[in-house]
């Protein structure tokens, strides 16, 4: 399907340059330790390393053996050791202990420590954990993703653009590492698709492929020669990719039906729309009681809190109690982290006004509603999901079925239930060519410059037809947001370049907040 871009959409720059630069830099660093050396890599950096340099490049620059940085004594017998690590205290202690052990043994070796990516990462991590970054659009990050790429990320975890498909996908006993990008033709066509369309598409594709194979019949020798030398390789490649993605889909389906995915999605949508809060709360309670999954339970609790502007005190206490009983008392600290980050809070008495407000705003005209909203938002300190989603129309009113095959707006990434806040804002800013007229929204978002970190940069000098837009996500974005913006780009003839500090999803967000018993 993969709708073509409008013909006036600009071409994207060549990004392979970035890869080459990174590789050259790595080689330069490796060569600073001339001769044979062993390389110790932090597990975290394996996937990024994979993207820029393969083993043979490392071997060319005299890397002898590769080790993972673990809390174990190193067995390396090489005289030169090179470490490629994140700048973390833990790592420094590990390296120090290794060097000290050598010293005790009276051994002198050469050591070189390469930090990636210098110091900025430390900054980011610390800030994330300390929750310095005010409000980000957590709602988007917490919703179950239903676009293919997002689902693959939720299910298998995409690391640096590649994913490990286990035996359940490959239907063999080996797992397979697959690079997911535009070069994978099959993936490129389905990455932005709603999951309900993917199966149909894949089977259509399979039929087409078969038809192409079938053309062999009735070919004469010369045609056959042509076919084998030119097309067969491509077809085989495509065939291989197709079977991988079909395997992935099956695996996703299996997992989702086990969890009663439909129920889950229904609850999420109810939360987004603010209907049947009681029922949703009971659903979450049952979810906890049945110990379905600590991360999932937490995610739903946070979603409830964010959409309802905090839990009512009774639910706040009982859900937490239930959670502790199910998943262990250490999560008392998890709750403390979540409260600090504003993800799971208790409604303050003033906040009940929001319920009134949302009713009022339905009654009066939009303009008046805006003013009332202002008044309320100055009363309620925290950003208000309802007010913002009303203001920006994040939850589209749906008449009848939302046709997921022919999406009409960016909400398709959440089955028509919700437009990611960041995407809507970018759309608005692009339409207005500035933040003008969005003052109210900005106020609702509380000190937007800091909290709302998407910066949209536009090259005004270039002609109207050149609409290449760099979107910077500080603090991470989800694949769903990317898919939504790609949709926007196709509709309006923009090309987006995404720059993000990380691709995140609900599980990653929740895990970062969870206290784990060591």
């Amino acid at each position: 399907m993969a709708f073509p871009h409008r013909p006036d959409a600009p071409e994207l720059p060549d990004f392979s340059m970035l890869k080459r630069l990174a590789r050259d830099q790595l080689i330069y660093l490796l060569e600073q330790l001339p001769g044979k050396k062993d390389l110790f890599i932090e597990a975290d950096l394996m996937s990024p390393l994979d993207r820029i340099a393969n083993v043979s490049i490392l071997k060319q620059h005299e890397v002898d053996k590769l080790y993972k940085v673990e809390n174990k004594p190193a067995l390396s017998s090489n005289e030169q050791l090179c470490f490629l690590v994140r700048p973390r205290i833990k790592n420094m202690r590990y390296i120090a202990s290794l060097v000290n052990a050598d010293k005790l043994a009276g051994r002198t070796r050469k050591y070189k420590v390469i930090f990636s990516p210098q110091k900025f990462h430390a900054c980011e991590m610390v800030l994330e954990e300390e929750g310095v970054y005010g409000d980000v659009d957590f709602v988007t990050a917490l919703c179950s993703q239903v676009v293919y790429e997002g689902l693959v990320d939720d299910t298998f975890r995409i690391k640096c653009g590649s994913v490990d498909f286990g035996p359940e996908v490959t239907s063999s006993d080996r797992s397979l590492k697959v690079l997911l990008n535009a070069e994978d033709k099959v993936f490129n066509e389905i990455r932005n698709e709603h999951f309900s369309n993917v199966f149909g598409f894949l089977s259509q594709k399979a039929r087409n492929l078969q038809a192409q194979y079938d053309r062999r019949r009735g070919m004469d020798i010369k045609q056959m020669k042509n076919f084998v030398s030119q097309e067969l390789k491509g077809l085989k490649q495509e065939h291989r990719l197709l079977s991988v993605h079909i395997g992935a889909c099956e695996s996703i389906m299996k997992k989702k039906t086990k969890q009663d995915f439909q129920e889950l999605i229904k609850t999420e949508h109810a939360l987004l729309e603010g209907f049947n809060i009681r029922e949703s709360t009971s659903y979450i309670e049952e979810h906890i009681d049945r110990q379905v999954s600590p991360i999932e339970s937490l995610r739903l609790m946070c979603l409830l809190s964010l959409t309802e502007n905090g839990l009512i005190p009774k639910d706040y206490r009982s859900l937490k109690t239930q959670y502790l009983q199910s998943y262990g008392p250490e999560h008392l600290l998890t709750f403390s982290n979540l409260r600090r980050a504003g993800l799971l809070t208790e409604q303050a008495p003033g906040d009940t006004l929001t319920a009134v407000e949302s009713k009022v705003s339905k009654l009066v005209t939009d303009k008046a509603a805006g003013k009332i909203t202002d008044a309320f938002s100055s009363l309620a300190k925290r950003s208000n999901f309802r007010a913002i989603s009303k203001k920006l129309n994040l939850i589209p009113r749906v008449d009848g079925e939302y046709d997921l095959k022919v999406p009409r707006d960016m909400a398709y990434v959440f089955s028509g239930a919700y437009v990611p806040l960041s995407c809507r804002l970018i759309e608005q800013v692009l339409e207005r060519r500035s933040w003008q007229g969005l003052d109210e929204v900005v106020r609702l978002l509380n000190c937007s410059e800091l909290a709302f970190t998407d910066m949209t940069k536009e090259d005004k000098a270039s002609s109207e037809s050149l609409r290449l837009i760099l979107v910077v996500f500080l603090g991470g974005c989800t694949f769903s947001e990317i898919s939504a913006l790609r949709f926007l780009g196709r509709e309006k003839g923009y090309r987006f370049i995404f720059l993000t500090t990380a691709v995140t999803n609900s599980a990653r967000l929740m895990e970062a907040m969870s206290e784990v018993k060591a």
Partner: protein
């Protein structure tokens, strides 16, 4: 042109040598040159003189004076020598003056007589004294070689990275060698010395006797030896007045010459240039200068006064009390053009241009002649090249004019060689000026490079000229102007008589935001001169916090450093300052400092979480942050403590803290956990197995699975587990055990708070359709259809749905109708629907 070649002297058939004046020296020498230790740096460098009172036997009562002059004789420095007796002087490649003392200490001075540092050539010298020393240049830098009183050699190939190498002993050496020199082969420094009729080569491993090939017989002693500028050639002067010239490897003889003068020469140096036609050495005696090469005759000059030879890359400089001259082999291009009756294209072009200026038709004739031979391009090139080798600007001009003239008649002559030569000559003429006094030749300039030349101008504090050159040559700012300004600023901060404000302002005015200028480097220099306040002022201009902060720390302005680090948003810097502050301040002050800096505090907490847990606790205590304190104890209860009592105690502390923080929920939850922990411990004691650290839910599940139903019930009551949870729990556990009998009993114990659909689901999950059906019958009407579908009873599900007249249920059942088996049912539903619509 006949007069122009008057100072050309032929040597053999192939080469001419010429000597011309660079400067007339009007330095005011108080001493005769012969009474002084003299050192002149190559590449037109400065000249150092130190009257040598130690040479004469009588001990001088007055201290000698060390004087430094430019090559044009302008005084650069003059200082009273207060140190010990000096054996030898020499200039390093960086134009630092090395003074080798008798006791082996080498004192290093700058161009302006500023003392830089000193180092020693080894302890054994203290006793034996230094007899002689040489400063030499290699590709690594500048080296020093000494000969001690014990007739041993020690050398260091690079004084910048001092590694002393004691050379092996020469067997049977009783007296000092008659002459010696350093050689450089294969990037290793050797020493060649002469003892009587023998030559020895010392490398770091061994001493070996060597014989120059083709050496004339009858030599009983070597009086002088000379190595060429590039270490490629060697010349030996013997007591028979015979000169041997060959390669420095002593493998090949180039030529020999017998000058019949037996008196030892004062100096002997090579005079050649890259791609020389002739290899020649210049030998100087008291009043005589001789150029000898592969020719039966030599060139002889009379020296009117005491002179000193300085070997250069492409010739020899000769200075005396009154003049400074340059002697060199005439370059090819010049020779071609100026040689008498030359018909070389360049010579013709020069003539043509001259005739043209005279408005004579001969110009056309000459030009035609060149063009007919197709040599105009070559002629232009020759003129350009020859211009580079001329010292006098008028000659340069006339050659360039000729080149420019010739260019007019060429279609596509690339202009850059001409333009570049004009630029180079302009630079060269500027620095050769008497006031600057750097008499570089074109070849030397090219070898030295413009960057090094700029460095040397900076070294002489000739900042304006350096900047002018940069601007004239349009060098990139970072390499050119800004670098020079930065050097100027570093010099400026040393001016103690100017106030901090004025210096800082002057520097900022000049430098502004020039790219490539590092204010922190300048500030570091100011700090080095003891001007801390000035350094701080200068650091204000430094835009890179990464550069500001370390210097501020070094200057002990830690608090300022902290705020700068925080401003930068660079956590790494903040950490650097924090760890520094932590060691510098006492704990109380440190915490107080942190209190005013929230970002630093939160970073420090992060650090403590990994590294110093106790400090973290103190921090929370200080801030009365009971909530965090509680969290801290909670973490300690499972991370730091092993024993149950210790863990309970930690939890108690946590609970207390939570009460103080008015977080009753957390306090109660913590107390529950204490209770649970004790109980789990008891269960382990009584029942065995693993209970500690399980969640409450898992504890109860474990009990049920272990068949301790009573205990489980008790626990559920004690901890007020809600009925719903308990039912889910028991249902799941009993199904896992496949204890269907117990499950049924349980289901009948009272009305299920979660309904009976979960029973059906769980039984089906265990693939027990039989049991599932039992419960399906008990499911309430609302979920009946779902339950029936779960157990696969599509037909009955359809009946119920029809009975309910529920459209959604009907659709659901219909979606479960697959294959022919359910065809009848599907039919039935369709009929029911149709009927419903009729009504």
């Amino acid at each position: 042109m006949d007069c122009y070649t008057a100072n050309w002297n032929p040597l053999g058939d192939s080469a001419f040598y010429r000597k011309y004046e660079l400067y007339s020296m009007d330095w005011d020498l108080k001493e005769e040159l012969r009474d002084c230790l003299v050192a002149a740096a190559p590449y037109g460098g400065p000249i150092a003189l130190l009257r040598n009172p130690w040479r004469k036997e009588k001990v001088a009562s007055i201290r000698p004076v060390l004087e430094i002059y430019s090559a044009s004789g302008l005084p650069l420095a003059s200082l009273l020598w207060k140190s010990g007796p000096v054996v030898s002087l020499g200039w390093s490649a960086e134009e630092e003056l090395l003074c080798v003392q008798e006791d082996g200490v080498v004192l290093v001075y700058g161009l302006h007589g500023d003392f830089r540092r000193h180092f020693s050539m080894g302890n054994e010298v203290l006793q034996n004294r230094v007899l002689d020393a040489r400063i030499f240049h290699t590709e690594f830098g500048s080296g020093v070689a000494i000969l001690t009183g014990a007739h041993r050699f020690t050398l260091s190939a690079n004084v910048g990275d001092l590694k002393l190498r004691r050379m092996p002993e020469v067997p049977g050496l009783q007296s000092a060698p008659s002459c010696w020199t350093t050689l450089c082969q294969d990037r290793v420094a050797h020493i060649l010395l002469a003892v009587g009729p023998d030559l020895y080569l010392l490398d770091h491993a061994a001493c070996s006797a060597v014989t120059p090939p083709g050496l004339a017989p009858g030599v009983s002693s070597f009086l002088q030896m000379a190595v060429s500028f590039t270490y490629r050639h060697l010349a030996l002067f013997t007591d028979t007045g015979y000169i041997w010239m060959g390669t420095a490897s002593l493998k090949e003889k180039l030529c020999e010459f017998n000058c019949n003068i037996r008196a030892p020469p004062k100096q002997m140096v090579w005079c050649s240039r890259p791609r020389s036609k002739e290899r020649a050495v210049v030998v100087a005696w008291e009043r005589r200068l001789m150029v000898v090469g592969d020719a039966p005759e030599s060139i002889q000059f009379v020296l009117d006064e005491d002179s000193y030879l300085v070997p250069e890359l492409d010739g020899v400089r000769i200075f005396s009390c009154s003049t400074h001259e340059f002697l060199h082999e005439v370059p090819v291009a010049s020779e071609e053009i100026f040689k008498i009756a030359s018909m070389a294209p360049g010579a013709l072009l020069l003539e043509a241009q001259k005739e043209y200026e005279k408005e004579s038709q001969k110009a056309d004739e000459y030009l035609r002649e060149i063009q007919e031979l197709g040599q105009l391009t070559q002629a232009v090139q020759q003129c350009i090249e020859a211009a580079g080798h001329e010292h006098r600007p008028d000659m340069q001009k006339s050659l360039l004019r000729a080149a420019s003239f010739g260019k007019c008649f060429l279609d596509r002559f690339p202009p850059d060689s001409f333009v570049r030569m004009c630029q180079d000559l302009r630079v060269l003429n500027a620095i050769r000026d008497y006031h600057i006094g750097i008499p570089l030749t074109y070849s030397q300039y090219k070898q030295l490079t413009i960057q090094v030349l700029l460095d040397r101008l900076v070294l002489r504090r000739l900042y304006p000229l350096a900047i002018q050159i940069c601007e004239y040559l349009r060098l990139p700012e970072v390499q050119g102007v800004s670098r020079i300004l930065a050097h100027w600023a570093c010099y400026k901060v040393q001016q103690k008589d100017v106030s901090d404000e004025d210096v800082a302002r002057a520097i900022n005015q000049k430098l502004g935001d020039t790219p490539g200028v590092s204010y922190s480097d300048i500030a570091a220099r100011a700090y080095g001169c003891g001007r801390t306040e000035l350094a701080i002022k200068l650091l204000e201009y430094e835009p890179r916090s990464g550069e500001q902060v370390p210097l501020l720390l070094k200057m002990k302005r830690s608090k300022l450093a902290l705020s700068k680090a925080i401003e930068s948003g660079d956590t790494d810097l903040v950490f650097t300052v924090l760890l520094h502050l932590k060691n510098e301040l006492n704990r109380g002050d440190f915490f107080m400092t942190l209190r005013n800096q929230p970002m630093a505090l939160s970073l420090y907490r992060q650090f403590c979480k990994h590294q110093e847990l106790e400090t973290l606790k103190d921090l929370y205590n200080q801030d009365d942050n009971h909530q965090e304190l509680g969290s801290f104890h909670i973490r300690a209860s499972y991370a730091a403590e092993e024993r149950i009592e210790g863990r309970v105690a930690a939890l108690q502390m946590a609970a207390d803290a939570f009460y103080k923080a008015k977080n009753e929920f957390a306090a109660k939850a913590t107390e529950d956990q204490m209770r649970l922990l004790r109980l789990q411990r008891r269960l382990e004691d009584e029942l065995g197995g693993h209970f500690v650290d399980l969640s409450l839910h898992d504890t109860v599940t474990t009990l049920v699975l272990g068949g301790h139903s009573k205990r489980a019930e008790q626990l559920a009551r004690d901890f007020r587990i809600p009925d719903k949870r308990l039912w889910w729990l028991k249902l799941t556990a009993l199904a896992d055990l496949e204890d269907w009998e117990e499950l049924e009993k349980f289901s009948k114990s009272k009305k299920s708070p979660i309904g009976y659909l979960p029973f059906v689901e769980i039984c089906m999950k265990q693939h027990n359709k039989y049991e599932a059906k039992k419960y399906a019958s008990r499911v309430g009407p609302e979920q009946k259809v779902k339950a029936l579908l779960l157990v696969g009873d599509v037909a009955q599900a359809a009946d119920v749905a029809i009975e309910h007249r529920n459209e959604a249920e009907l659709t659901l059942v219909l979606s479960h109708c697959t294959g022919t088996a359910d065809a009848a049912t599907a039919d039935k539903i369709q009929r029911a629907r149709a009927q419903a619509q009729k009504k």
